[in-house]
Symmetry: C2
DNA sequence: CTGAAAGCGCTAACAC
DNA sequence: GTGTTAGCGCTTTCAG
């Protein structure tokens, strides 16, 4: 590694440092540049002797192939774009790690696009992608480039493999890795109902969000399975953030008749909501039960610890990366993968009063 | 955007779709490829008429310059590598966002390297960098490539601008963006002492970590300023994670004589520690005060809410990116930037029982 | 202000 | 199994 960025074979002194090129290696190994290239890409097609000389020359020169040249010629970048709505959101970071490690093992790099709700950024990354800077993309944002919301407008045609992660993209025919949001939400709802809760508040995700729609459907499924009526007045809008959980909590505190349980569709909201309830002198779960969704790191150490739905975040990331790599390398890949969730029972939920 | 990835000017039908190249634009605008290139890079050196024709042809063809070709020729990638020890750590995500947005505005892309404690990954990214895939790098991991710990071995020579963020790199002569960890830790310690605490436990970061060293020095400074002796028995080792906070809490619970206050050098540890204390029936802050460091999102909604040191994370990221961009574009940049921290007083700290 | 032409460093076709 | 050669698409001299 000491020779990085240094031309090989010559002066160790202060001579102008120049990166070794394939020519330098070829000369040193006494073969053609084509053989050097082959020794690296398809070693089995090169004689053992030549290969050994090439390898030695590479070690001596510290040669590292120039990726721009390689990309220009082979039309492959070995880069994958990961598009996500919010990099600062805890929920994504572990998924990202799962993606990164899988890509890394397969020799791919990861470029991150934090959309941050900006259409300008989206256009930029669409152009970026179209320009061939990446071989494929993983979309965590629930829609294709240039398609602000489902149905509206034609998605730009991007000629590279795409994979949707977490948020399915309804109109697009691309592989999709997800959990069964509807079933999980139903399960949590039934858990609450099974404990005896009859008035259950639902704190939603952002309107029009596909996850939200699934979870909301699941909430209603659960209610129905438990023989409970659905009361729209019991729904509080949220957007998965801590702040919206705090706001939902404030609304609850202000009311005279309160639900006995609150199902928040993200742990962030649940933690923010519990905080507000506690500050107002209410007890959780004695006065009011609170459930979350996601099982982020902080759910287990919240006070009280949070009953929630566990999502295998790292595995979701790994699965998405694996599917994309298969696609990139021309292997068949499943159209859909559903990973199992788990109901995690902790201390924020108890039978009513 | 509808034309992305489609050759321009010809059939709208099912003809083989091919991305437009500079040649296509040149032909359509009736100029040479050189003029197209100049119209994009140095518009002032092209006649208004020619420029207009070129722009029109670009719009018509949906031309996007091929970055690989551009990089190969100009030796610039417009990509920046961000090296960090742990992508899943909450502390980094907001910093990352600050970096990303600043880079984006300047037209640079971001490639993330999650080291994850793996020397193999480190070697890979060193090669990656040496291969010229990025124009510069921001290092959040406290050491240079190939330099496992300060002092040991020669850092690989990477011929590109580097910026250290948060963790200074002692032996390296590169710009450094940070907070005054020592002063901040001293301030918190004095705050605790000022409230009347005499036995203050310190939960450390990882051994050999430069942040840890600074904060530890600050802790001792604060003790000294308050006229308190330093007792090594009051130091508990940690590593900034929730788990290590939980472990530290268990150690504390098991003791017969306990400190009246605990200064955790990360919010994650503080939250994990509070959780353990609370579960054991101890009250925070009545029985024991707990302070954190960083002011992550969850600090404000922890129960009790956490007294901590606020770090301007987004601004740190922005500052690092700004310095790097200045360097990349040949402008002078400061050798060091120190951003202000703030003592945030919430409910986890009170005078001793 | 503009065009012709020479590569940037590599891989893939094609010959042998 | 190996070498020769022709580009990948762009920027950048160098002339004019």
């Amino acid at each position: 590694m000491d020779d990085l960025g240094q031309a090989g074979g010559t002066e160790p002194g202060d001579a102008p440092v120049r990166a070794a090129r394939i020519q330098d290696v070829a000369r040193l190994a006494d073969v053609s540049t084509a053989t050097v290239s082959r020794a690296l890409a398809t070693p089995e097609r090169v004689s053992p002797e030549a290969r050994a000389r090439v390898l030695e020359a590479i070690a001596k020169t510290g040669y590292v192939p120039n990726p721009a040249a390689r990309t220009l010629r082979s039309q492959k970048t070995y880069m994958v774009l990961v598009v996500l709505p919010d990099l600062a959101n805890t929920f994504f970071s572990k998924i990202l790690r799962g993606i990164e490690e899988t890509l890394f093992e397969a020799g791919y790099g990861m470029i991150i696009s934090d959309l941050d709700g900006s259409p300008e950024k989206e256009a930029h990354f669409a152009a970026f992608t179209a320009a061939g800077r990446v071989d494929g993309a993983i979309l965590l944002n629930g829609h294709l480039f240039g398609q602000s919301r489902e149905g509206e407008g034609q998605p730009a045609r991007i000629g590279i493999p795409l994979v949707a992660l977490c948020e399915a993209i309804p109109s697009a025919d691309i592989p999709h890795i997800e959990i069964d949001n509807r079933a999980a939400a139903s399960r949590m709802t039934q858990h609450l109902a099974g404990l005896g809760h009859r008035r259950i508040t639902y704190v939603s995700g952002p309107a029009n969000n596909i996850l939200e729609r699934e979870r909301f459907l699941g909430f209603k499924d659960g209610l129905e399975a438990a023989g409970l009526p659905f009361d729209p007045a019991l729904v509080i809008p949220g957007d998965y953030t801590i702040e919206s959980g705090v706001a939902a909590g404030q609304g609850l505190v202000a009311r005279t008749t309160r639900p006995t349980a609150v199902f928040c569709t993200s742990d962030e909201m649940a933690i923010g909501l519990m905080r507000t309830l506690l500050s107002a002198g209410l007890r959780v779960p004695e006065d009011i039960s609170v459930a979350g969704f996601d099982d982020i790191e902080f759910a287990a150490v919240a006070e009280p610890s949070l009953t929630t739905i566990h999502q295998p975040r790292r595995e979701l990331g790994q699965a998405a990366a694996t599917v994309l790599i298969d696609l990139l390398q021309g292997r068949p890949a499943p159209k859909q993968i559903r990973l199992e969730t788990e109901l995690v029972i902790r201390n924020s939920v108890a039978p009513p009063g």
